[in-house]
């Protein structure tokens, strides 16, 4: 088990494996996203309450899920990197941050676009939007701290620690925002993403989620490869590139 862990943690091994997987994952992402888009925009029936406006769910909800997943993954990788001093784990954490921040931004932007027809305003202090906003700041803080350290090793450890502290905090933040929101707005506002979903509405959503997942993995592997190149000082295996 430990050996397997280390073998996977070896940068050259990962580099080659990722190079092999990237085109396949990219293709899977493209196909899934295209089918899900067709399903979501054409095949799924309009919602009886929100009409065609509800179709924004197909980009908003998967983005929101991916953003949270990205933060958890980033913190887990950073934690592994900190505890076991595995450079590859730090590389993964560094690679995930910008993708996670993009998905967080997308969740915020699409949520706000969706909010306009539903609530009549671009921004409402809806629980999910508020949580996403805080999450965006967590990502930005992580990336700024990383950018402020000029030494890669130090940047890895400093920002990694921040991510770990952050991930313990995320459930608390989430709960506090939910609680704060329920105190103030109650049921006066339609919650985003909670229309009565039927089967033919659901499958494009799940497919989009899978497509985003593959997309995430693809970009993550590309970015991790660049991070590995930045970190590797022993050039033996790099010579064979």
């Amino acid at each position: 088990m430990w050996k397997l862990f280390h073998q996977f943690g070896s940068p050259p091994h990962f580099y080659r494996l990722a190079g092999y997987l990237i085109p396949w994952f990219g293709a899977a992402a493209l196909i899934l996203i295209l089918i899900a888009t067709y399903g979501g925009l054409v095949l799924a029936p309009a919602d009886y309450l929100q009409g065609d406006g509800f179709r924004i769910i197909y980009v908003h909800v998967p983005s929101a899920s991916m953003s949270l997943f990205a933060y958890t993954l980033m913190a887990t990788a950073a934690g592994i990197g900190l505890i076991w001093r595995i450079k590859l784990a730090h590389a993964v954490a560094a690679a995930v941050a910008p993708i996670g921040a993009s998905f967080t931004f997308l969740a915020l932007a699409t949520g706000s676009i969706w909010g306009k027809p539903m609530w009549g305003t671009w921004w409402a202090w809806d629980a999910r939007l508020t949580s996403e906003l805080i999450l965006l700041f967590l990502f930005l803080g992580y990336m700024s701290l990383r950018a402020a350290n000029d030494d890669v090793g130090k940047a890895d450890r400093a920002s990694g620690l921040l991510a770990v502290v952050g991930v313990v905090n995320v459930p608390i933040i989430h709960y506090s925002v939910e609680w704060w929101n329920s105190l103030h707005q109650g049921a006066t506002i339609i919650k985003l993403g909670k229309p009565a979903i039927t089967g033919d509405m659901l499958w494009p959503l799940l497919m989009m989620l899978a497509g985003f997942g593959f997309y995430f993995a693809t970009v993550m592997m590309i970015r991790t490869r660049s991070q590995v190149l930045q970190r590797e000082r022993k050039s033996q295996w790099l010579k064979s590139l």
């Binding site: 001093r85 000029d150 030494d151 090793g153 000082r233």
Partner: protein
């Protein structure tokens, strides 16, 4: 103490690689080399302040990362910065630094202050002490630390010739009583031959 295959990078520069040495008791290791060759970085690795890229430092056969607190108690460190508070007097600073390590009474501390020639300045705030006086105060801290190993980074800077002689004497008596020392310095340590050991570092690649 042993160092095995140490390697350290700063940015894209390798300061040293595959650096090994062994330091038995009753020896003073003189680390020398041109500016920027990584003397301070090496000393910080030996202290456990910096992580080496490769290799390990062992103290009594145990990696220093294993039992950090135990190791830290065994040595005293003097870096470029003295670690004194500008607002506190020399006496207060000494009392604080020493009390982190062990209990001493006022008399012992006063004697040591006398030994390093700071009795007259003992109640002045560190802000007004000269660089050389602060260096002397650091030496007093090291003397009172009761540490087996001293790690000193450029202890001679800012000291007058009497102060430098004092360091040499201190190192001699420390080694004679079974202690060890690692000293980075550009000049000779003035330590007697049987105690002396050298480590010459080269320019970084």
């Amino acid at each position: 103490m042993q160092a095995e295959g140490l390697e350290l990078w700063r940015g894209d520069r390798c300061l040293f690689r595959d650096l090994s040495f062994e330091l038995p008791e009753e020896k003073a290791l003189h680390v020398s080399g041109p500016n920027g060759c990584g003397k301070t970085s090496l000393l910080r690795v030996l202290c456990g302040l910096s992580e080496p890229e490769e290799g390990a430092v062992r103290w009594r056969g145990k990696s220093i990362r294993r039992d950090r607190e135990d190791y830290h108690q065994a040595f005293a460190w003097l870096g470029h910065l003295n670690g004194f508070k500008a607002e506190l007097s020399a006496r207060e600073n000494l009392a604080f630094s020493v009390s982190l390590r062990r209990k001493t009474d006022d008399e012992v501390r006063n004697n040591t202050l006398d030994q390093v020639g700071l009795t007259a300045a003992a109640d002045l705030p560190c802000r007004v002490l000269s660089a050389g006086q602060k260096r002397r105060l650091s030496l007093a801290t090291i003397m009172l630390s009761a540490a087996r190993l001293w790690i000193l980074d450029e202890p001679f800077t800012n000291l007058d010739s009497k102060g430098r002689e004092m360091i040499s004497e201190l190192l001699n008596s420390h080694c004679a009583s079974g202690g060890a020392a690692i000293v980075a310095a550009h000049q000779e340590l003035g330590v007697e031959q049987p105690y002396l050991q050298h480590l010459k570092m080269e320019d970084a690649v």
